[in-house]
Structure formats: structure tokens, C-alpha cells
Symmetry: C2
Subunit: 564 residues, 2 copies
């Protein structure tokens, strides 16, 4: 068990580098070259500090997978070195993996903001992880934390799409690292709390050896829309709605939801929160003082007596998730509420890449019902939480780092972020496009990939964590494309073959009979020639494979079985 | 067999309506409420005229399906009434279904523009359909065609993303129908041939009873970018490329490809066409005079001797299709060509909805290789072929239809097109949002859905047309999510159970043994109680289902088999 001290008052000078370990290693285990499952480790000597522990959602080829967590072999192998953990904010791609990760590693202090910790506690308790099994320590902005003897961390506020979002300045024996965390530079943040650009500027003056910055929107020109503009657009749309309003957004958009609660109050609408995650976030945020409902929430039954224009539902479903409230409303499968002409639906969100089709389906169903539907880009009711090129440039200009590591992005985002940096008045001396598992060695005059450690994806499906590999996924892809055909040859007393298929072709007795005949001929010939069972099975497989390909043009997954 | 006359010279007045059939029926069999597989029928009395015969591509839930064609039961049931067919243009979603459709219906005259017919001929010959089996008749713009006794058709030019694109004015006993076909209003078309707005205006003055218009971009404000602007952006990008250029676009973008050939000539680059469909379109278009290469095409071997900045490849793969040239280049699996730093890749295209993930994957791989990649929106190297709101409004303003049928769109597009029409100085008297299979009854004072006919999707997979139904697709979806588990119980001489699975979990002997034990217990108990075989099978199924769900949290497709 390792312990470290929380010292929020002193900015203790880092010890001078030991001659044996003149380098800091920056080791992204997730979130580099991808958007999702953010986690990385810093190692100096025999001490490791970890940042975040997120999850990712599967793409369309990762069929049936519920979610993806990062491989943590490196951390497990070096568990004794881990001195502490820091969390930048409470989004799933930064803390969603922790219920899987923390129990597999030694109990060390985990530092993070109030809402971040509130959301993490809720998550851990859902997984049945007891408070005593973890050491969660809440910090405020500008708090300073010493982790081990070599890592000195100062949390700094950065605006994003969730409260209590932090970057940090890490002071190490080799120099200063500035990690922005996820950010945009919102000049009109909902809570009035600006990004701490003065602190970044000061760090820039003191000298930033390495900047690690958010690349998500590195391809977008200009600046990202302020949350204040989103609020204005939402208020205008809601004011124009004559009937009931159903609004969906990300449940973690605590500030936006607060703004919506205020609008509802101003417009004399009572609010119903619908959907498990919406209720959970609202509950955590309210308990911790991050959300204050001007009027108590009502249930869908309780608003039954109100007039249509006195009701506003805030519900889940912004990504077209099939079981979400909005999807059930759109497809008419919600147990208590039915949409009708005169209602308005506002999607205060954009589809995350991969969800376009699901969201489009929901939108079309809403139109078919005859409700009014409002969504971007024609209605400016959403803005990204990530900064665009001018914001990224501003942080680079203030921090003036010697070295630069574009992070939180796919290669296209990382590389465009790197190019952007090169266009600035004082470009970084060197930029690396790193991948998960790269060991980035950092010293006063050193910045390169010096090796790799294991990194990658662990699939979570149902109760299984890591019991699905790429081989299993490949089977799923193959079966999804052409179906499966199972042939069971029973050799005695009289050889015969049974055929079962799924997802192959519509029930077709004629084709089944032909396949059975082809298989049986192969089996009978094998028996006549007294072949071994494996060879008979292979012959049957080959004969049916060729026949099916010829007759149907398809290659279903074939499973030959012999019962002797 | 039915024949009709082609009369390109007279605009013969339509006969007056017979008292028995005062109505025209407009029957969309595809392309209404969706984008894809466009086809519709007009019926008057005992005569039917058909327009287009397209295909659609599967969405992500239609797993393994190659393509989708429209159900044509209505046409087959009324085959004797079909007097003729007209084609608006040569895109797959308008003619791609014809090789499946035409052979199933009587041979009637099929009218269309030169390139449309050239592409159709090529397609039919690939399917082994002989010239003598069809009656293809080429028409020019403003040609007039009489189909049966009741349908008088005048083709009118509309600009789009393929040459020879036509709308038409259909004069019938009940009045005039104007169908725009796919269109944008490009004021700088590559071939200098403008949309025939004067003819639309004239029709508007003469009286348009019904307008059927393209809704694809009804949600986009303003006007769609002209092809001339795309050309300018492309020329600028190419001029800035120091090494080899690889450009991909839709193979049917004949005008754009012509412009690119001209640019290559001006910039002293020789062109290599790569990819089956790119070569096919270029060949048809060149043969018919729609494309003229200023310099002969070279092969990838022939340009080997040239300097890098003297080469431009035009290749397939704009949609990230796995077997396309660009995908093979990106993943390093092309047999002859390897991308390298210094090369530039231009995607003169946008991903069609559903292809975002595939295109994104290709783009990221290109960045990783280190080539320069150019694509929209940061580079304006593509424009849609469909008009935006101002163009749609202009056509509505000129045609001034009494009735309006928004077509070629999903419900969101149709409904926004309908709303747009209501904002105009002289809105239509009535607009219908129709679905495939709706029978829209049209008369001088009548416009309503009067019934329905069968319509929907026929799946084409491998050699099979229509042998895959939604039940088969559901099996594919289920297997793709959780895999499949096959249990074979052999009862004699000693009961035992074999387990095979695919896509379920990684090979796990312990779990297999447990499942086998659970299955065997159910079988042995059933045998002791002398149950019927079906009941033993059901017991085994139930026991394993419960066990697997409890232990893994999953529901694979289970297949129980009993060998007695």
C-alpha cells in the first residue's frame, strides 16, 4: 500500500534529477490516436503517476460489445510504483473505466474535483466497490498535490461541457508539463468561471517543457460556439413552442441543463426529468450543489394536469440509443408518454461519429409523428465542448512549450494540431504524434519515443471483461455477413446428415435437401474408403463449401460435426 | 407485347378524360420517404408508364446484403398495362435496379438520354441480358414522347452531378405533371448547359397541376455550390501538390472528371484511371463523347518513368469501400502502388450517410502514412448534386403548381420541403407527404392518397434475389451481437453432449465443460423420465439458456440438437 500527502498550500520545488534517471516517461495507455478511453501514466525513476481512466464505445465492427476499457498490463506489472492518480473531469471517456481498473491495482490516493469525485463515487458504488477500497481525495482548482517524491501537480480550471473540468501543471525533476485536459475557451461560461489562461501564461513565462493539448477539434477553423449562444438559441426555440417540449442532451451537460431549468422557470414550464442517466446526473449534481432546480421536478404523472405549454421534459436519447426515452417516444414504445402533433422535440446535441444512422432514424420517426423537431445546424442548439483552431492556437501561444504532444484525437486531429502549432509565431521545437503504448521520453533536451509498452482494448460484453478477443469479433462479423450453416453427420446405424442454419437464406427445403445430399455423398465416400473421422469431416466441409458458393454465391460460416 | 410510338416532334394535345377514369394515379414504388431505389408508376385507365428503376444500399442493420431493389409486385400484377418506361438519368439509384426488374416484365420501350442509355446498356450486358430482350430508345433534351394513348412526355434538362440529367413534363388527360428529377440549379455548369428554367416557367404559365420535386437538400439553407467553384478549388489544391496526386470521386461524376483531366493537362500531369467502376464510366462516357481526355490515359506502370509531379491518379474509393483502390492504398494492400510521404490524396466527395466510419478510417490511415490529405469542408473540393432551399424555392416559384409532392427524400426532407413551399408567395394548394406504395389520386380538383399497393425492399445477396427476408436478417443481427452456441446431445450408447460456439467467448474449456454438464444433466433427467425428444431438447435449451445468462450475462443464439 502506498500513501502520499495532499499538500494544497505549498508549491514545493521539485527535487533535482537523480543522475540515474534523467528522464520523465510519458506513457499514453489510451486516448492517443483515438477519441475515447483516456488514460496515461508518467514515470520518473521508480514512481508512477496516472491520469484518468476512461472507457470507449465500440465501433460498428466491434459487434455486440458493450464498452471498451484500456489494457493496463503496464500498470499491473509496475503496480508497486504507482504513487497516485489524478482525474481531469467526470466524463465517461475519462472516468468510466475506473470501476474496472481501480480494483485491479493497489489502493493509492485519487485526486479530482468535487463533481468528478461525486460521479466516480456513484459509479463505484454501482459496481459494489466499497468506499474503504479506494482513497478518493477531493481537490479544488489551483490546489496543489504532491504525488510520490517527484510529481507535483497543480490543478487549473479549463472550461468544457461539464463543471469542475481541470487541466494541470505537472512539475517534475526534468521540467514543467502542461496538460490542458479537455477544453474549450468559453468567454461566457454558464457558471462565470473562466479558463485559467493567466496561469497558463505564467507557466509559459516560467517555461513549459511539454504541452499536452486536446486535439478533438483541430480540424475546425475559428472558435467553438460559446455555451451562452446555445442558451440563447434554446430559449428562443422553447419560447416559440406552443405545446409540450421534449429536450434531449448529454446527461453530463450539467451547466446546460441548469440553464434549461432556469429557462423553464422563466417561461412557466415545469420540468420532468426522464431516463436513468439523466436522473442520476441530476441527483449527483444537485446533491453536490452543481445544479439547483428553481422549481421541484415533477413526474410525468404529475404534469398530467398541467396545460401542454406548461411542461418541459428533459430526457435521454441524444445519440439515438434504442432503449433511451427519446427513442421509445419516437417509436411509440414508451409506457407512459405518447408524442402527438403540437409537441416539440429539441435535440441539443450532435450525433457522435458512428451514431448518425441511429439519430437520423429517430428524427425521421419524429417527423412522421408530426411533432416539430429542432436540431443543429439549422437551429444552433448545441456546441462542442472542445476548442477549435483559434483556441488551440491561443493556448499554444500562451504556453510557448518547447515540446508538444497533440493528444485526445485520431491521427487526423493530432496531425492537424501539430501543423497548426507550426504556423504560430513561436512554434514548438519538436512535436510528436504518439500512439497508445508509446513511451515518450522527456528531458530538458530530449523528446522522443524510446520504446513501447502493451496497450490496446479490452472488450466488456455482459458480465465478461476481456473474454472476447478479435477472433471472436471476427466470427461475429462473418456470421453477420453470410449467416451460419451447421452440418451434423451421424454415421451409425445408417449415415445421415442434419442441416441447421441461421441468417443464411429464408427457409428453403429444396436447398436444404441438396446440401444434405452433397454432404452425405462426401460422408459415404469417406466411409467406403475408411478415412479417418477428421478427414471425413473435412471432405464434407469442402464439398458443402463449394456447392453453397456455386449455388448461392455466398460463404456462410460452416460448422461440420461428425457423430460416430 | 406492347409497342408505342416515339414522336419527338409533336406536342400532341392529350385526349380528354374518359368518364370512367377521371383520375391519374401516381404510385411511388421506391424513393419516397427514403433516398434510394427510385421508381414510380403513373396509371391512367388501363395504361401504366414507369419512371426509373433504381437500387439502394443497405444500412448497417441489413447485414451482409449487397444491395436492395424495389418490390415490383404491382408492376408484375399489372404487367399488361405497362406501355413504356422513362429514365431521368444514369445514377445507380435510378437505373441500378433495371437488370433485375426489366427481365421480369414485358418488353416495352424504355426512353432516356444518351449517357443514361449507354450506362444502362453496359449494365444489362454485364448481366447477360441481350439487346433483343429490351427496347431501349435514346432521346434528346426537349424531345417529346408519347407513351400509350394517355401519357405525353417532354424531357427537360436539369443540372445535376451527371450529364444528360432530365426532368420531364407529363401531359395527361387530367392535367400537367412536372417532375424535376434529381437536380440542382447550377449557373456555371461544366458543359455550359443550363437547367431549362424557361420551359418550367412556361409550364407554370400553362398550368402545372402537380409538381414532384427533389427533397434531398431541403434542410440546407441557401444555394448548393456550383461545380465551377469545385473546379477552382480542385485546381488550386492540385497546383499546390509537389508530388504524386491521388484523387477520388464518384465514378459517375463525368463532368468533374473531365474538368480534372483538363486541369491535369494544364498542369502537365498524366492521368492514370484506377478501379473497375472508374474505368467503366470513363469508357462509356468517352465512347459516347461525354468525356474527352486531352492526353491518353497511362497505366500505373507507364507513369513509373515520370517524375512525381507529372502524375495524377483518378481512383475509386470515395466512400471508403474496403476493396476500392483508395482503401487498398491506405491499408498498403495495393498490388502495384504504394503511397509515400510527399504524395497528396484528394477526396472530392463527402461520405454518404452510413459511410462516415469507413471514410474516417481511410483518412486516418492516410495521415498515418504521412501523405497530405485534402477533403471537405476545409477544402471546398466537393459539392452536392442536389439543390438547396433557394433552388427548390425557385422551381416552386416558377412552376406554381396546384399540388405538390415532395419526393427523393426521407420524411425529414419531404416535410421540410413541404414547409418551404408554404413560405412562398404562391404556395401550393395542397401538399402530400407520400410513402412508397401509396396510390396518389390526382384530378383537376383531387389530390389524395386513395389506397396502397405492395412496396418495399427486395434484398440481393450474392446470387440470391429475394431469398433473404427480415427473419434471416434478424438472425444475423442476433448472432453478431452475442454469437452462437450449438449443443448436440447424442443419446446412445451413452448420453453425451458436444458444444461448438462461434462469436460467443474466447476458447474457454472450463466454461465449455460447465455448459456441457448443465446440458447433459437436463438430457439425462429427460431420459430417466422418458420424455419425448422434443421435450428433452427444449429442457436442454432452457437449462443452458439460464446458465449462460447467469454466468456470462449474455444471450447467444442457442441451437439444441438431439441425435437419437
Amino acid at each position: 500500500m502506498t500513501t502520499t500527502d495532499l499538500d494544497p498550500t505549498t508549491g514545493a520545488a521539485a527535487p533535482s534529477p537523480s543522475p540515474e534517471t534523467p528522464f520523465l516517461e510519458v506513457i499514453p495507455l489510451g486516448g492517443m490516436g483515438e477519441i475515447g478511453k483516456n488514460i496515461f501514466a508518467y514515470r520518473y525513476g521508480d514512481e508512477i503517476m496516472v491520469v484518468d481512466g476512461g472507457l470507449a464505445f465500440p465501433d460498428s465492427h466491434q459487434m455486440g460489445i458493450d464498452l471498451i476499457i484500456p489494457r493496463i498490463d503496464y500498470l499491473q506489472q509496475n503496480a508497486h510504483m504507482i504513487k497516485g492518480w489524478i482525474l481531469t473531469h467526470g466524463h465517461e471517456d475519462h472516468i468510466g473505466g475506473l470501476p474496472y481498473i481501480l480494483p485491479r491495482l493497489p489502493r493509492v490516493p485519487v485526486y479530482g474535483g468535487g463533481l468528478t469525485m461525486g460521479l466516480l463515487r456513484e459509479k463505484l458504488s454501482e459496481f459494489g466497490i466499497k468506499d474503504s477500497e479506494t482513497d478518493l481525495r477531493e481537490v479544488g482548482m489551483n490546489d496543489k498535490v504532491q504525488i510520490g517524491t517527484h510529481f507535483h501537480v497543480e490543478f487549473i480550471r479549463m472550461t468544457h461541457s461539464i463543471p469542475d473540468n481541470a487541466g494541470y501543471i505537472l512539475t517534475t525533476p526534468v521540467g514543467r508539463v502542461l496538460h490542458t485536459g479537455d477544453f474549450k475557451l468559453d468567454e461566457h461560461p454558464s457558471d462565470g468561471l473562466l479558463s485559467d489562461l493567466p496561469r497558463i501564461e505564467q507557466a509559459g513565462k516560467d517555461g513549459v517543457l511539454l504541452l499536452i493539448s486536446d486535439s478533438t477539434n483541430a480540424e475546425r477553423q475559428g472558435r467553438t460556439t460559446s455555451e451562452a449562444d446555445v442558451s440563447r438559441a434554446l430559449e428562443e426555440v422553447i419560447a416559440g413552442c406552443k405545446g409540450r417540449v421534449f429536450l434531449t442532451t448529454f446527461a453530463s451537460q450539467v451547466h446546460r441543463i441548469q440553464n434549461i431549468l432556469n429557462m423553464a422557470h422563466r417561461q412557466s414550464r415545469r420540468v420532468v426529468m426522464e431516463g436513468r442517466s439523466m436522473l442520476k446526473y441530476a441527483q449527483v449534481a444537485s446533491t453536490l450543489g452543481y445544479m439547483t432546480a428553481p422549481d421541484p421536478f415533477l413526474t410525468s404523472e404529475e404534469v398530467g394536469g398541467l396545460q401542454d405549454q406548461q411542461v418541459l421534459f428533459v430526457c435521454t436519447g441524444s445519440q439515438g440509443q434504442p432503449m433511451s426515452v427519446l427513442s421509445r417516444l419516437a417509436f411509440g414504445t414508451h409506457a407512459k408518454i405518447a408524442l402527438r402533433r403540437g409537441d416539440s422535440v429539441i435535440l441539443s446535441s450532435n450525433p457522435i461519429p458512428g451514431n448518425e444512422e441511429a439519430v437520423n432514424l429517430v428524427i425521421n420517426r419524429l417527423y412522421e409523428i408530426g411533432v416539430d423537431v429542432y436540431y443543429p445546424p439549422n437551429h444552433k442548439v448545441h456546441a462542442s465542448g472542445h476548442g477549435s483552431q483559434e483556441e488551440l492556437a491561443q493556448v499554444l501561444n500562451l504556453a510557448r512549450p518547447k515540446y508538444f504532444l497533440p493528444w485526445h484525437g485520431e491521427p487526423r486531429h493530432q496531425i492537424n494540431h501539430a501543423r497548426l502549432a507550426q504556423t504560430l509565431p513561436r512554434p514548438p521545437k519538436r512535436t510528436l504524434i504518439a500512439k497508445n503504448g508509446d513511451v515518450v521520453r522527456l528531458g530538458p533536451d530530449e523528446f522522443k519515443v524510446s520504446g513501447t509498452v502493451p496497450a490496446g482494448a479490452v472488450y466488456v460484453d455482459g458480465l465478461g471483461v476481456g473474454d472476447i478477443g478479435d477472433d471472436v469479433l471476427l466470427d461475429r462479423v462473418n456470421m453477420s455477413q453470410e449467416g451460419i450453416l451447421i452440418m451434423t453427420a451421424v454415421l451409425h446405424p445408417v449415415p445421415h446428415v442434419e442441416i441447421v442454419s441461421r441468417g443464411f437464406v429464408r427457409a428453403n427445403r429444396e436447398l436444404d435437401n441438396q446440401i444434405r445430399r452433397v454432404a452425405l455423398e462426401a460422408v459415404e465416400e469417406g466411409m467406403r474408403e475408411k478415412k479417418r473421422l477428421e478427414d471425413i469431416r473435412d471432405d464434407m466441409y469442402g464439398a458443402v463449401r463449394r456447392f453453397v458458393r456455386k449455388v448461392t454465391g455466398r460463404n456462410p460460416v460452416l460448422i461440420p460435426m461428425i457423430v460416430d
